[in-house]
Amino acid sequence: MAQQCPNIPEVGDFVTINIGPSHPAMHGTLRVIAQTDGETILKADPEIGYLHRGVEKLGENLTYHQFIPLTDRLNYCSAITNNVSYEMAVEKLMGLEVPEKAQLIRMIMMELTRISDHIVCIGILGVDLGAFTPYFYLFIQREEIYEIFEWFNGSRLTTTFGRIGGVEADLPEDFEQRWEELKPNLRKAIDETDRLFTHNRIWMDRTIGTTAISPEDALNWGFTGPCLRAAGVKRDLRKDEPYGMYDKVNFEVPTGKHGDVFDRYIVRMIEMEESIKIIDQAFQMYKEMAPDAPLRAKVPKIIKPPEGEVYHAIESPNGELGFFVKSDGSDKPYRIKIRPPCYMIYQAFPELVQGEMIADLIACLSSLNIIAGELDR
């Protein structure tokens, strides 16, 4: 082993194993140095920074619009949410009022992203627990969602969706047809996954009670999103701090009880269903809009927000995704701080996996949905 973690002394008969940064179960470039006694983990130390690209530093040297493509590369599983979150922060800083139609388009796209992100999380969780098949059932539908992204944004993964002050284009005409085609298949895939996993004895044994966290601890560690809701805290920024048009749609916020892997999985499964409902309602509202309604607020060519600093957070699929933008009045942001949800969640990792087994470490990692891109920025 090249490097020993300073926290973990090499003592006794314990084995220090180095998982990552290139390991089949480490999504992206994560690394965990674990000290094990047989299969039991005595201590685990996650080391991050392998995908550190200095996005925040780069942001200080780019104009406000130039930064949008960089936000794609944060959580590359849900790029649209990142784009919108950043745009909303800048809009808040400038005091822009985004037209309702643009907000609806954003909402539809963000919920599609949420579904695709949860698909990634659940699919990979299944793969890491040894069940390959639901991964394919879900990923075929994710592919369809990406088709929609591609046909709307021109790219699948790194979407660069939206502009400051609104969106760049209207939904294409056949969106309704595409969505109606996709919806039943999506429901079917979710249902099949549910039938393969939820009441599967091995699945239950593997996930129930694994790496559980209490609501108090979860809050103390800064958990947000599905992982916090799985612990039983009903907090969803879409409900609690409604942004966009989320206060005009009806949806349920699912919560778990134990904060274990199973609850995280169930919360995500239900959220996918809820997202489908949200898209339906949002699209209904969209259809009632005038076809020539504005898509973008009046925004100057060169964006120069007034001096000041704001923080704006939205509910990304992983949790609270916030952007702190400080402006000095010039055309470049003075400081951009990203608050990625899994950054806060991942720091609790050593505490979560202590005393569990190596297999649980992997299950925990996938259920937290750690994305290296937004973790390291």
Binding site: G49, L93, R335, K337, R377
Partner: protein, 186 residues
């Protein structure tokens, strides 16, 4: 009662300044009292969730402002020698607090001087501060007293500089060329 009034009442003299920007309230407190302030905000006002913690390097901003002020002064042609106010401390550390019950956010700001970059760690109050404090240390070189494990987080341990400081060049200084690789011999 508005949030500002409540914070004012709770903190008393500790609150040195209030800034409001687009509905976001920011309270500035002295660097020595940050632990006390945060604890009382948590206990009395119910700010029970640490949303984020990060640093900002204000050196360029202050320079710009000083230049602008000088220009203005020159334009006014007022001769007031020796009146140069020392610039405020270079760094700031921001704590984004959230009250889950009232759904309110509050930004607490402390200013940290360059010659004594030391802040009390809030990891005793929120475990959530563990990595953000390490990151601030990594990126700005601000030390957190009482942090259980203050190591670099994103950069490697031997990295000689603090990359998010404004005087650090965007393209780096070629540190990666001096990376030492450890090899194992059989």
């Amino acid at each position: 009662m508005s949030l500002k009034d409540r914070v004012e009442r709770c903190l008393g003299d500790y609150a040195t300044a209030f800034v409001e920007c687009r509905g976001d309230l920011c309270v500035e407190v002295p660097v020595e009292d940050v632990l006390k302030v945060i604890a009382s905000l948590k206990d009395e006002l119910g700010f029970d969730f640490l949303s984020d913690l990060f640093g900002v390097d204000n050196s360029v901003l202050f320079e710009k402002k000083a230049k602008a002020a000088k220009k203005k002064k020159k334009a006014e042609d007022e001769a007031l020698p020796g009146d140069d106010v020392p610039p405020p401390p270079r760094f700031e550390v921001n704590y984004l607090l959230l009250s889950l019950e009232r759904n309110e956010r509050l930004q607490v700001k402390i200013r940290v001087p360059e010659d004594k970059p030391e802040v009390d760690s809030v990891t005793g109050i929120w475990k959530a501060a563990t990595w953000p404090e390490r990151e601030v240390y990594d990126m700005y070189g601000i030390k957190f007293k009482g942090h259980p494990d203050l190591r670099r987080l994103l950069m490697w341990d031997e990295f000689p500089a603090y990359p998010l400081r404004k005087d650090y060049p965007l393209e780096g200084q070629g540190e990666e060329r001096h990376l030492s690789y450890t090899t194992t011999e059989s």
